[in-house]
């Protein structure tokens, strides 16, 4: 039982506000929105705006990892982001209502190529040093598998960590695996798979039930 959020954001009164992730999921998200009749030409253009009107939706664009923050507070009614982001922020409260199936990738443990020396390192040195942008997922994974790890959070290119000696291995999201290969890293263990998810604010899920269920249905048809 955690503290009580001090709300400042009002729920929107007009069209549903959808938090849209910029970055790797943006293209496929906009394609899906086009297919349900929301015109995304403006978002695709070179406007510096962050908020766009698109048919019966208002699109609020942001970093994927900010989507749960906005949706939890009600600054967006619904949002799209990767399961990896939701796993990393599992203490936030929102409804995870639909698997949009696109944007598939894997959360993996990767280390230097050649002979797998991770187990030996853990045995001799007591703990593995793991660099990651997903510290909570990494800590939970090593806890769950009964191993000791020293998790080091980095913000930029995580592949640099084992190459430069900061860490023994990394926990990261992998799509094609090319970046890993280019840096001499190989996948040692698969932790979870991830796809794009639709999430809803707790209050909006109740008070705007029909609009949200309708959006889920339309997106489901557009993404399968």
């Amino acid at each position: 039982m955690s503290g009580v959020a001090r709300p400042t954001a009002a729920l929107s009164q007009g069209p549903l506000r959808l938090a849209v992730p910029r970055g790797a999921l943006l293209e496929e998200t906009l394609d899906a929105l086009d297919r349900i009749g929301a015109d995304t030409a403006e978002v695709r253009g070179d406007s510096r705006s962050l908020i766009f009107e698109a048919g019966d939706l208002v699109l609020v664009t942001m970093r994927p990892s900010d989507v749960p923050t906005y949706v939890e507070a009600g600054a967006a009614d619904v949002g799209i982001t990767g399961k990896d982001v939701l796993m990393e922020q599992s203490d936030r409260v929102f409804y995870e209502i639909s698997d949009l199936a696109y944007g598939g990738c894997r959360m993996v443990l990767a280390g230097p190529g050649g002979e797998d020396r991770l187990a030996e390192q853990e045995r001799r040195l007591g703990a593995l040093r793991i660099a990651t942008k997903y510290p909570r997922i990494a800590e939970r994974y090593f806890d769950d598998t009964g191993r000791a790890a020293e998790v080091i959070e980095v913000k930029g290119s995580v592949e640099l960590a084992p190459v430069s000696g900061l860490a023994d291995a990394i926990v990261d999201l992998v799509d094609t695996g090319r970046t890993l290969a280019d840096n001499g890293l190989v996948i040692r263990e698969e932790i979870a798979s991830s796809t794009a998810r639709l999430i809803a604010n707790r209050v909006a899920h109740k008070l705007r039930a029909k609009e949200i269920d309708d959006l889920v249905e339309r997106l489901r048809e557009a993404t399968t």
Binding site: G3, V4, A5, R6, L11, A73, G74, E96, K206, L207
Partner: protein, 331 residues
């Protein structure tokens, strides 16, 4: 030079305090009008006494007194009032009607803008079983929301045991049930769907288990659920529809939104559960429900029901509703 205060705490200055007091007074007037008497309990209690509430909100702040006994700051008022009833009303005839305007304490996560210390206003009705006791509490809550100026606020009404009973009726094993209920309590409908797909059930039973958490709205959702689920569903729905009918007879049916997937947490709730929403706010204003087994843990087995509203959130929603109303007048 400034002096820090602990994270999650804050000072309240006169303008805000005046409005909070006004709000408390309006709520107190409603509660008293329904025959509820105000109680105050200690901010600190013995940890082992509060912990008797078992699955309730665990105390976040604990410390030792001068003799080494473990004390805790209360995380809500339900457990202290259960203790109060067991201690002070051991030989009195129920029902007991109490209300409170008090501070409670919970842990804060860093940098999330959370309050570790906050005001709650709420009532406890001890010794009055479902559905009439529940309907009375819903009526008081509805009147309290009106008094706070939140005419658009909605009470979500569910049943803590509904989904569990449905799973039992369909013969889902204990381990699977626990996993499915944990997913439902964390609002992870995607995970729930995945787990349900893996169960050894017919397609129509799986569809039912996936559909029920999405059913929310007016009384028509009861009909839809019965149509989907036949006998097993009808039995699981019995108590919720009884509560709804008793509340509708008191004239507050329009204020309720039935929610078949509502599960607040895996705490001490046994029957009806409720949450309060207002369109002006993205956070839940408060909640409550029945906890018919809680009093027994304090040695006085009595059915009980209540709710708590987060006063500061109520205040923000009130200000937001006023702003919206002014905008509409200005147009």
């Amino acid at each position: 030079m400034t002096h820090p205060i602990p994270p999650g705490t804050r000072d309240v200055l006169p303008d805000e305090m005046r409005e909070l007091r006004m709000l408390q007074a309006r709520l107190a007037e409603v509660f008293e009008g329904f025959g509820y008497g105000e109680v105050a309990t200690p901010t600190v209690e013995y940890d082992e006494v509060l912990a008797r509430a078992a699955a309730g909100a665990p105390a976040a702040y604990r410390f030792f007194d001068e003799r080494g006994a473990l004390l805790a700051l209360r995380s809500d008022l339900t457990a202290p009032i259960a203790r109060l009833v067991a201690n002070r009303f051991a030989s009195s005839e129920p029902p007991f009607r109490f209300f409170y305007n008090a501070r409670a304490y919970r842990a804060v996560r860093p940098q999330r803008g959370q309050a570790g210390e906050f005001f709650q206003a709420g009532i406890e009705l001890v010794g009055s079983p479902a559905p009439e006791g529940t309907a009375e509490v819903l009526e008081v809550l509805s009147a309290a929301l009106d008094a706070a100026g939140l005419r658009r606020a909605v009470i979500g009404l569910g049943d803590a045991a509904l989904y569990r009973q449905l799973l039992e009726e369909l013969g889902v094993g204990e381990d699977d049930r626990a996993r499915l209920l944990a997913l439902l309590a964390s609002h992870d409908h995607v995970g729930l769907d995945m787990e349900v797909s893996g169960l050894a059930l017919s397609d129509s039973e799986k569809r039912l288990l996936m559909r029920v958490p999405m059913l929310r709205g007016g009384p028509e959702v009861l009909d839809e659920a019965r149509e989907l689920g036949g006998e097993a569903m009808a039995r699981a729905l019995e108590r919720l529809s009884g509560t709804y009918e008793a509340a509708a007879e008191r004239g507050i049916g329009d204020r309720l939104s039935l929610d078949l997937g509502l599960l607040r947490d895996l705490g001490y709730y046994t029957g009806a559960i409720l949450e309060v929403y207002d369109p002006a706010l993205g956070h839940v204003l408060g909640g409550g429900g029945r906890y018919d087994e809680l009093m027994g843990r304090f040695g006085r087995p009595l059915p009980a029901v209540g709710f708590a509203l987060f006063l500061e959130r109520l205040h923000i929603a009130q200000a937001e509703e006023e702003r919206i109303a002014e905008e509409e007048v200005g147009r």
